[in-house]
Amino acid sequence: MSVDLATVKRVARLSRIAVTEEEAERMMGELNGILGFVEQLSEVDVSDVEPMTSVTPIRMRERSDAVTDGDKAAAVVANAPATDQNFFLVPKVVE
């Protein structure tokens, strides 16, 4: 499978990365190189093989459903580029 320029732009949009025409062209070549490389997996017979979900055979730990952390809003927003009264500020999203 290979990607065309329109697909590259669509994927960039899905990835939320702005790309120029020139970058999209370059990425198309690179992505097709990588997709061509992974193509060799089609040689492998995976019928009746389960996909890996966990590399170590461990049972997920459970813990009691209790609050163990929190009450540190100021610390949570401390590194944000824009905040007001411990809220993150973003550009207006509703008209």
Binding site: I17, I34, V44, I58
Partner: protein, 493 residues
């Protein structure tokens, strides 16, 4: 008086304990070494002299009171991927500009609890994506090693290039690193240092910026096998904050050193004899087998038939997980923000300016293989291939093999700005051809220096073990180290 930076962790530990040297003296020696070298090597992205000296002073007080921990007063460097409270933590990326976390990663907290001293944060490939340390926002790290008679600057490998270079150049006693596809073992091989990627789940991933969560694992880079064993003992732990951390006691790895290899079966995988492999690497591998045989181990030929599919499967699984993990860098919660027309444009402009080329490439690949209509063909298929890769290893271990001996890199260190590698991402990815299977199967892998090539550059050998049998790797690597010796670069910086 000997240069204190020449002491291994084991030596420094003894002298600190006997009060022959102080932690402050030792830390000061490292700080001046960093001062003198970092301009040339670019191994550190942030040096923290005030923190270091305060920690060293506290260590001296504890040592005086006879209460020192396992790493009391030992100065370490930390890869920029680990969260360190109130200190530069940017994964060597522009997008995390100014990020100073309000929390500490579990691995680094474990080290401070053991008494270690933080010298600063180490350079790396951006978000640990790379094999040459050239994708760092802070510029490439320069390998302290140079080819004989040449002045060409070489890469230290990646992604933990700063960690490996700092250890090799004696700008720290040891360093933390991480390995998603070879990022501890390949730089260790390029710098004649020892690196171990432990079994997945052995070290907590909490507080380490995530790249590919099912593959990422922390481990140490150190000057010799003993130091690596000492560091891993303190780094590893069970952590309730990482649901994949495994509830098994951490053994005393150092105690495994010197144990006999008699009766051990060492597997030699035929699939690692790849086309175009330099003769020197083949010879070194044979030399490694001879050393282990002399030490009483039995060498057996094995087959890991799905080896060649590990790299393509990795370049689906790792980008897929990365595209999801890196979605959090959006200009809202931390780091860089570039304003835009609306919120979507702000996200797109921030991520366009904040991520480097390699990171963008991987996010795009990951987004594509996870997108509607392609999930089964790519991601699901790759996860099935991963099951087969793991099964290959289980089969040979079940047949009685205790550890596997293999090459670690297809060559010695290459030049910074290598045109052929820069022009073709897939060529760079092939750097990890011998290391990636271990991440895909979650196994422990260790890189130990084994010799120098015809250019006088370090080459390493790799040992791969059963899950949670790091001790076997340490004792086997120790035998190789005893036979091969240790190697240090000539100081030119």
């Amino acid at each position: 008086m000997t240069d204190l930076t020449s002491l291994t962790i084991a030596d420094a530990r003894d002298r600190l304990k006997s009060r022959a040297i102080s932690a402050v003296e030792l830390t000061e020696s490292y700080l001046s070494a960093i001062d003198a070298a970092n301009g040339a090597l670019n191994a550190y992205v942030a040096v923290t002299p005030d923190t270091a000296l305060a920690m060293a002073k506290a260590s001296d007080e504890r040592l005086a009171a006879g209460k020192g921990g396992a790493l009391e007063g030992i100065p370490l460097g930390v890869k920029d991927l680990f969260a360190t409270e109130g200190i530069h933590t940017q994964a060597a990326s522009h997008i995390l500009d100014g990020f100073k976390p309000k929390y500490e990663s579990t691995v680094t907290q474990n080290l401070w609890n053991a008494g270690a001293v933080l010298l600063g944060k180490l350079n790396m490939d951006e978000f640990a994506m790379g094999s040459s340390n050239e994708s760092s926002y802070y510029g490439p790290v320069v390998n302290p090693w140079k080819a004989e008679g040449s002045d060409e600057k070489l890469v230290p490998g990646g992604s933990s290039g700063g960690s490996a270079a700092a250890v090799a150049a004696r700008l720290c006693a040891g360093a933390t690193a991480t390995d998603t596809g070879g990022s501890i073992r390949q730089p260790a091989a390029f710098t004649a240092t020892v690196g171990i990627k432990p079994t997945y789940g052995r070290c907590s991933r909490w507080g380490i910026a995530a790249f590919a969560s099912s593959l990422d694992q922390a481990g140490p880079i150190a000057r010799d096998v003993r130091d690596a064993a000492i560091l891993l003992k303190s780094m590893a732990s069970v952590d309730l904050k990482d649901s994949t951390s495994v509830d098994l006691p951490v053994p005393d790895y150092e105690a495994a050193l010197g144990q006999s290899l008699k009766g051990m079966k060492i597997g030699i995988p035929k699939e690692y004899r790849v086309e175009g492999m330099p003769e020197e690497i083949e010879k070194l591998w044979a030399q490694g087998m001879a050393w282990l045989k002399d030490a009483g181990a039995e060498i057996v030929d094995i087959s890991l038939p799905h080896t060649k599919y590990a790299l393509p499967a990795y370049y689906i699984v790792a980008p897929a997980e990365a595209s999801s993990n890196l979605a959090r860098y959006d200009g809202v919660r931390y780091g860089l923000r570039v304003e835009g027309r609306d919120i979507a444009d702000m996200y797109e402009q921030t991520r366009a300016a904040g991520f480097g080329r390699e990171v963008k490439r991987r996010i795009m690949i990951g987004t594509y293989v996870l997108s509607a209509g392609y999930y089964d063909a790519y991601y699901l298929k790759a996860q099935k291939v991963r099951t087969l890769i793991k099964r290959d290893f289980e089969t040979v271990f079940h047949a009685g093999v205790d550890a596997i001996l293999a090459p670690i890199t297809p060559s010695s260190a290459f030049a910074i700005g290598d045109k052929e590698l820069a022009a073709d991402p897939v060529k760079m990815y092939l750097q990890d051809v011998f290391t990636i299977t271990v991440n895909m199967a979650g196994l422990p892998g260790l890189s130990v220096p084994a010799g120098l090539d015809h250019k006088g550059l370090p080459l390493g050998l790799q040992l791969i073990g059963k899950p949670f049998e790091e001790e076997t790797l340490f004792k086997t690597a120790h035998v190789i180290e005893q036979a091969a010796g240790t190697f240090s670069p000539k100081v030119w910086w």
